[in-house]
Subunit: 430 residues, 2 copies
């Protein structure tokens, strides 16, 4: 029986220092739960000479990964570097060295997760990654264990704190995109380079991870349809509000007999839908199971301590397995063949905002494009656009295929009455 469990911390940024702080603050509780203390043995950093606000002794810090790999007192490596190649290599080497790994790295897990999990299995090591999705919300564990007996049929949620923070500030405080982004950066909710967040890539990585796990089949990052916040046109938020909707960057994943469909994009939620009122940096994910029906999990999607809590709960799980001698016993193969839906098989309701020449008969002529494509309309409204000389036509469809949606948009683009397709949204949760 081990007398102590040794941790090697890879990185000491926002999350890394949070993990050190949670381990320190809850030391007594954790020792009670596990029966043995958990100790940080070494911390890998890039710059040894940087000033750090920490109680950890300076001699624990090193800039050499080998110092951690060769340290036999380290049982579990905690990867909180972020980024891709350096982190992937470190995880790989840690597993090859027979050490358990806990990571918060969605970039690595979305692309190399399966290979690394198989490597972990082969080396008899645990590889846990709860913190890669949903900050402090224990989503991965819920999908793996809490709903283990059910067949998950869909996921729908807000899983990027940065874009949700920005959209909340734009809607509720009428800030511009630039002002809201600046505030998010100042509060530490946005990275110095926010491209991955606002472009939807961050959320797409998380959806690939969640969908693969939920459906037990490979969902590659490329399988995720991604539209970023740049798709949101000036005036769209107000327009959504007039029609009773709230614009959110949302991730969705569905599986039926035809296959899997995963997307990240700005969507319209009816205001009464609970996801419409998930604000600021909070995340929330609806999980629908064949037997359980609808469940929802909500919590802080970002921030040092929430993410550190997820990392540390993974450390506790890895410690338990180590102490019981059952580390690396989960099999991570997929039960099902990868099968993605075609655009003909995907279906949704859509909101189209079209700039048209303000002339008699335009509404009827454009509506005809929808019916020609078999796309049934729920609402058509002509909306004056004071900023321009033309008018906006708003089309809200009934449920149509994504193919119909794209075909209609293409035809609209070339119609002589149309000055441009201003924006279009999927409507969710109706």
């Amino acid at each position: 029986m081990k007398k102590e469990i040794g941790i090697g911390l890879l990185g000491f940024g926002t999350v890394g220092s949070g993990v050190a702080s949670v381990l320190q603050q809850h030391q007594e509780d954790l020792t009670y739960k596990l029966g043995v203390p958990v100790k940080i043995r070494r911390v890998l950093v890039r710059n040894l000479h940087k000033e750090r606000n920490t109680d950890l002794p300076q001699e624990l810090f090193t800039d050499s990964l080998d110092d951690l790999l060769n340290d036999e007192s380290i049982d579990i490596m905690v990867e909180v570097f972020g980024g891709m190649e350096e982190a992937r290599v470190a995880i790989e080497q840690a597993l090859q060295a027979g050490k358990g790994v806990v990571t918060a790295n969605k970039d690595v897990m979305a692309v190399h997760g399966r290979d690394l999990l198989v490597l972990a299995d082969r080396n008899g090591c645990d590889l846990f990654y709860e913190a890669s999705v949903g900050g402090g919300i224990p989503l991965i564990r819920t999908l793996e264990d809490g709903l283990a007996s059910d067949r998950i049929t869909s996921l729908l949620g807000i899983i990027n704190g940065t874009t949700n923070f920005i959209l909340t500030k734009m809607k509720h405080e009428k800030k511009t995109y630039a002002e809201a982004l600046e505030e998010a950066t100042a509060l530490g909710f946005a990275e110095a380079d926010p491209t991955a967040d606002v472009g939807g890539i961050d959320a797409a990585r998380k959806m690939a991870i969640l969908a693969s796990l939920s459906f037990s089949e490979e969902v590659q990052l490329d399988d995720v349809y991604v539209r970023g916040m740049e798709a949101i046109e000036d005036g769209d938020l107000e327009l959504a509000e007039q029609f009773g909707y709230t614009v959110k960057m949302a991730g969705s994943a569905k599986k039926d007999e035809q296959g899997v469909e995963v997307a990240v994009e700005p969507v319209f939620f009816p205001n009464a839908h609970p996801l419409a009122s998930v604000n600021n940096e909070f995340n929330a994910v609806y999980v629908r199971g064949a037997a359980v029906g609808e469940t929802m999990f909500y919590g802080p999607g970002a921030g040092s301590l929430p993410t550190a809590t997820s990392v540390t709960s993974d450390i506790v799980a890895a410690c338990r397995n180590l102490l019981l001698g059952v580390n690396g016993k989960r099999v991570h193969s997929y039960q099902y063949e990868r099968k993605t839906k075609t655009d003909e098989q995907k279906s949704a309701r859509y909101f189209h905002r079209i700039a048209v020449r303000d002339e008699i008969g335009v509404l009827a002529r454009l509506s005809a494009i929808y019916s020609k494509n078999g796309a049934s309309l729920a609402t058509v409204i002509q909306h004056p656009n004071p900023a321009r000389e033309d008018a906006d036509l708003i089309f809200i469809t009934h449920t149509i295929s994504r193919k119909q949606h794209l075909d209609v948009l293409e035809e609209l683009t070339t119609a002589p009455e149309v000055n441009g397709v201003l924006s279009h949204y999927r409507i969710e949760g109706d």
Copy 2:
């Protein structure tokens, strides 16, 4: 290595038949996950001759518990009888026979949970009870594993589907209590005898289970302050609405240095609070942790399949442990001494509705009772009561102690201007 895992099902009512159905429908997935099939070997029922709509062969059914206890092919007993003594004895005997136990029984777990968990530890068996709280929401597992590294500081939630269904129908469809209860019974959301639900006892049992687990100290059923739905007076729901609140039966648990405070009672939630819009049979629980901050878990709180999903996920966990040979390895002792708060230490905002003689100066004289007791008032409103000749005075306090709240109510009761204390509520989530 076992080739198959055998289940003994104790009870074949709503939940029991749901478990059989989930095991059957997801058989392929479960076999894939576990590597071996899970099979129901025997089903204990009270009446062997009752007509049952099931695919299970008739010879599996028995009315003798010994048939299950003595069956060596049964590894895990699933107790879905409900009720108290018979279930407790069956769980005890199953554990003594070295079988793992999965139970949905909050009555037993709230009162005998600790003894049974210790017995399970001693016999090297697992005892899982996810389905005893929150129907299909994996709450217990989240508190035990997902938030394992955090220190839980409070719980606040709606954890009784029956009362929430009734209150939803009363508020949104203006049904009477009797009509709403009748509908709940017809839909299977209320027991034939709804006393435990509407009286708050069912929720109190769940809160005792959740609080004990969250705070790692003994919270006895008697420690839970309970007020049932009978505390809700005619007109209270409408009155709440006028003041921007929604009445919900809620469970709350808090822990700080002074001790623990657990309650189940009708409370006022501000309409903007997410729990105010948790409707019908749905449950939702806010869990606040020192590090993670605020998380929330939402899902169906009742119903055959949701509850069966929780039971079956517990079966999966017990199977995994059995297959790995690590069953019964969780230690279930409490880390902290039991310490409950006094009424002086409990604090909240309160809403008081007082029937008074409609005469000059009454408002000032009664307000003086509050200030005499050091209870600071946020709002005082005289509210005409067309149904009676007197008037209602509404007092909304700032945060005061429970002792002050009780002292004020006692003094009001004996004041000559007061015809009666009509109702009073704690205000939560403000």
